[in-house]
């Protein structure tokens, strides 16, 4: 990236070269229809230092976390509640939910708002990397040492070692519902 000043000062030859490079980048033929099978849009994010992907179809929006109110008497995986344009949403700590070791402090500061039928909630992540294409058929199976909630909700691992998190199953699961009486 160049600043405006730099561009003005740049000599025309160099400018042309940059533009040409960019044109080449854009004009790249679309990737051939491969036999990778079904393709879905995924959202790639970081949790501690691991990469996770979820089906972007269930993502409503991503918002920065400004204020979080802890909710007493709720299970540990409920980090708290937030105000999203007047709506009160619960925020889930995936690390606790999945039983990942609580090692390291993270910079959890993005909330991914998810929705499936009438369940709407947020999950807290460290960093959003971006949208990626996922080929579910190409996912590798997880190591057999993985057990418990991780085994239940992680559906595979990509070639780039991102973990595919089955967000639809998660949102449909009754184990995320808090329904407790005194």
């Amino acid at each position: 990236m160049y600043t405006e000043g730099e561009i003005i000062k740049m000599d025309p030859e160099k400018k042309r070269m940059i533009l040409k490079q960019r044109a080449a980048l854009f004009s790249k033929a679309p990737e051939k229809e491969t036999d990778l099978g079904l393709q879905i849009d995924g959202l790639l994010f970081l949790l501690t230092e691991e990469q996770y992907i979820i089906d972007a179809n269930f993502v409503v929006e991503v918002i920065p976390l400004k204020e979080l109110t802890p909710l007493p008497c709720a299970p540990a995986f409920i980090l708290g509640i937030i105000n999203v344009r007047g709506k009160v949403l619960s925020v889930v700590n995936l690390k606790t939910f999945l039983g990942l070791p609580e090692k390291g402090i993270t910079n959890l500061n993005r909330v991914i708002v998810l929705k499936r039928s009438d369940i709407e909630l947020g999950i807290l992540v460290d960093e959003i990397v971006g949208k990626v294409a996922v080929f579910p058929d190409q996912l590798k199976t997880l190591m057999s040492t993985i057990t418990g909630a991780k085994k239940e909700y992680l559906s595979g691992i990509t070639a780039t070692r991102a973990l595919m998190f089955n967000i639809e199953k998660f949102l449909a699961s009754s184990s995320i519902i808090v329904d407790e009486e005194v």
Binding site: L68, P70, I81, N83, K87, I105, N109, E120, V178
Partner: protein, 769 residues
């Protein structure tokens, strides 16, 4: 999912909405027709049913739902025949019609993914066959008992001949072109979003208010200045006169020059501040006016939006006659439901919440209220029981729902026996209890006068839940009964979601709100007045003693006693069941709007919901009846000596971190270890706080907006007053250069987040303090 699949999914979803509306319309029309209205109205209803069946048929065909299509086809033919008066409307046909509707509903409930079972297919065959027989007048003579057997297709008459699809003898008049309707469809979600945002405007109103108050304070400060300035101004003009009074030609001394300059500056300053004061005054006046006028605009906007999300009661009541009919048939009773006032509109969110309670009361009436036909006959009552549901508008923005049945009434003798058993009172005393008190006892959990638990409502929990739900909505419910004559439930609920007055309190750094109406009293007591009774803390209250619990214990979060000789206590509960809850501070009373939790938080112990303050901050609302229950169960016992003795001076640590979760985590770890912790959100904030207060150590993140941790460290080191404070940097950067850079600017330690460990952090902190 490919786009075609997606499209199909969408149109099936649309169909389901359309179909369920269609079925609702069919049902209510059938119910009305069954009541044998005047001939003229009958014709209208038949026409309406015919049209509804026709359009449902078309819609079903569009999504390939052959079962629904077939049934609607047959239904359409029957009503077409009725229109043409070739078939008559006879009462016993209605069982078949309702069976038809039930079948439609069941098919619809299967959804996209489910399989159409052969049982369903058999029912479709049966229903269509019978309908076509009706159309031909063949079934008109059949006894109704033969028609009712739904689940078992065997005894069905041998299919004579399968009805052919009816010839296209009727051309249906479809409305062409644009309908002259003044209504449009908007998804509920969009309306809800609109409402949420309109509600947010209330916060804006409060912000305006605070802003106005701020301006007022500023103006006040200036008036203090004016007072002081008046005293100085005499001295100033005195000095000026002396200087100006010097004989012409005599030069001013350098000191006099200085005084003259200062006097001029003070004069200029005074007039400037006067202008600013005037400007501020105007601004304040303007802001007060605007606060009022925009406040009024916001209120009216919110009112309009609330009207938009209002729906008539009929939206949920339309299914009641049908439900009552089905329920009563199942248990061999006959019931008619008469509804009045269903056109009354109410906030959809409230109506949604009322659906289950009302349905429960209806079931309750069908199940326990209305007697079996033979019993009714013996008692000189019509065989058919009547349940009346009347909706009427009350003053003060409330509606009253009255549900009356002409059944047997509540069995007081049974209720008495329950009362004796559950409340453990002597048998002799039960007769002294006021009858109304006894009747209201049915709302207590665990009570149902039906000895036998039936599928419907005899589970006892029901009425307690009904009452809880209604009270949550800010309403009330009462019951009256007359032996042998019937029972009447009266419900009053607000038309729109209510704001309520709540008291805001603080425990540690958490805030909560409790409805003012549930608070008995707020007390401030000396800690020495807390005395153990039966090994539980208690406090003197009114004439006696009541137990004391700590709100933080009940809400299950750690907190520390305040270093104060006094303690703030809120008393909840009534009469014998009063309990004191200790908090750190009672803040203020506010008018708050209850925000329901999202679906994930279906029910949270001790917390009823949340509200959003003017600042946007979310505050949990306490569920007082839960708290009282929890307090009784609470077994934790706090030592009492603790509060009286002052705790020793603790080391103070400043945590500088922009991420709120990390900030909370660090704060928690350090506080648990016994440190006094303050927080700052970035370098600038951190530097300011470091100078304002005294800290024994600063723990800071590196990557932060405005000023990063390295720059802040450098700045603190360069400032003599704070240069000696040990600084620990915590960061995700783990490169060697970064660490070196950290040491260069003067940090004492460097902790890398990815291999962060609580005990490491505490060890480092302890070593440095």
């Amino acid at each position: 999912m490919n786009s075609r699949e997606e499209f199909l999914k969408k149109i099936r979803a649309t169909f389901r909405i359309e179909a369920s509306e269609g079925i609702t319309n069919l049902t209510s029309n059938l119910i009305e027709l069954e009541k044998e209205p005047p001939e003229e109205r009958q014709t209208q209803i038949i026409e309406a049913i015919y049209r509804e069946a026709h359009s449902l048929k078309g819609a079903a065909r569009a999504v390939n739902n052959t079962e629904i299509e077939r049934i609607c086809q047959s239904l359409e033919s029957v009503f077409s025949a009725m229109k043409d008066k070739t078939t008559k409307v006879v009462p016993h046909l209605f069982d078949l019609f309702h069976l038809t509707i039930n079948t439609l509903t069941d098919i619809l409930a299967i959804g996209d993914t489910g399989e159409i079972t052969s049982a369903i297919r058999d029912r479709v065959d049966e229903v269509s066959l019978k309908l076509s027989q009706v159309e031909k007048g063949e079934l008109a003579a059949i006894e109704k008992s033969e028609v009712v057997l739904p689940a078992n297709p065997e005894p069905v008459i041998v299919p004579v001949k399968v009805a052919l699809p009816e010839p296209q003898k009727n051309t249906v008049k479809e409305p062409f072109g644009l309908k002259q309707d003044n209504t449009i469809r908007i998804s509920i979600e969009k309306l809800d979003n609109l409402l949420f945002q309109a509600e947010e405007m209330l916060a804006l109103k409060q912000i305006f208010h605070h802003f106005g108050d701020g301006l007022h304070l500023t103006v006040k400060k200036l008036s203090i200045w004016a007072h002081e300035a008046a005293e100085v101004s005499l001295t100033v003009s005195d000095a000026q006169q002396k200087i100006n009074g010097k004989p012409a030609g005599e030069r001013l001394t350098p000191f006099e020059e200085q005084v003259k300059k200062m006097a001029q500056f003070i004069e200029w300053g005074t007039s400037l501040i006067k202008t600013v004061e005037g400007d501020l005054g105007k601004m304040r006046k303007f802001s007060v006016q605007e606060t009022y006028s925009s406040g009024a605009k916001i209120e009216s906007l919110l009112d309009e939006v609330k009207k938009m999300i209002s729906v008539p009661f009929s939206a949920i009541l339309d299914v009641f006659p049908k439900a009552a009919r089905d329920l009563s048939k199942d248990i061999g009773k006959e019931v008619v439901v008469v509804i009045s006032g269903a056109e009354m509109e109410i906030d959809r969110r409230i109506l949604e919440e009322m659906r289950n309670p009302l349905m429960h009361l209806l079931r309750n009436s069908v199940d326990h209220g209305i007697e079996k036909p033979q019993v009714r006959k013996q008692n000189n009552k019509p065989e058919k029981g009547t349940i009346q549901l009347a909706i009427s508008r009350l003053e003060n923005n409330k509606v009253e729902i009255t549900l009356t049945d002409d059944g047997a009434g509540i069995d007081l003798e049974k209720l008495k026996r329950k009362y004796i058993r559950q409340e453990k009172i002597p048998v002799a005393e039960v007769d002294q209890i006021d009858e109304q008190v006894l009747v209201n006892y049915i709302f207590k959990t665990g009570i149902s006068t039906t000895e036998m638990i039936t599928d419907l409502s005899g589970r006892g929990l029901g009425l307690a839940i009904v009452q809880e739900k209604i009270e949550q909505l800010g309403g009330s419910v009462s019951v009256k009964t007359l032996q042998g004559k019937g029972t009447e439930f009266k419900i009053q609920i607000p038309l729109t979601l209510v704001t309520f007055r709540g008291v805001r309190m603080r425990v540690g750094d958490r805030e909560f709100i409790a409805p003012t109406s549930k608070i008995e009293r707020v007390l401030r007591l000396k800690k020495t007045e807390i005395k153990p009774i039966e090994n539980k803390p208690s406090i003197p209250y009114q004439e006696g003693f009541i137990p004391l619990v700590f709100l933080a214990d009940i809400l299950e979060f750690p907190f520390k006693d305040q270093e104060d000789d006094h303690i703030m206590i809120i008393v909840f509960g009534s009469k014998e069941n009063q309990i004191g809850f200790a908090v750190d501070e009672i803040m203020d009373e506010e008018v708050v709007l209850v925000k329901k939790f999202n679906r994930q938080l279906k029910r949270v112990r001790n917390i009823a919901g949340a509200t959003v303050l003017g600042s946007g901050k979310v505050i949990p609302i306490l569920n007082v009846s839960d708290l009282l229950k929890s307090a009784v169960k609470d077994t934790s016992y706090r030592g009492l000596a603790k509060g009286v003795e002052k705790q020793k001076e603790k080391s103070a640590i400043l945590v500088v971190e922009d991420s709120i979760t990390s900030r909370m985590l660090l704060k928690n770890i350090l506080e648990t270890a016994g440190y006094k912790v303050s927080t700052a959100i970035d370098g600038v904030d951190g530097y300011t706080k470091a100078k304002e207060e005294t800290f024994n150590l600063i723990l800071s993140d590196v990557d932060m907006p405005r000023m990063n941790g390295l720059d802040m460290t450098a700045k603190i080191r360069a400032d003599k007053t704070v240069a000696d404070i040990p600084i620990v940097l915590v960061t995700s950067l783990s490169k060697r250069e970064d660490r070196e850079r950290g040491m260069e600017v003067g940090a004492n330690a460097y902790i890398v987040k990815s291999n962060f460990d609580q005990s490491d952090l505490l060890a480092v902190v302890e070593r440095l303090i």
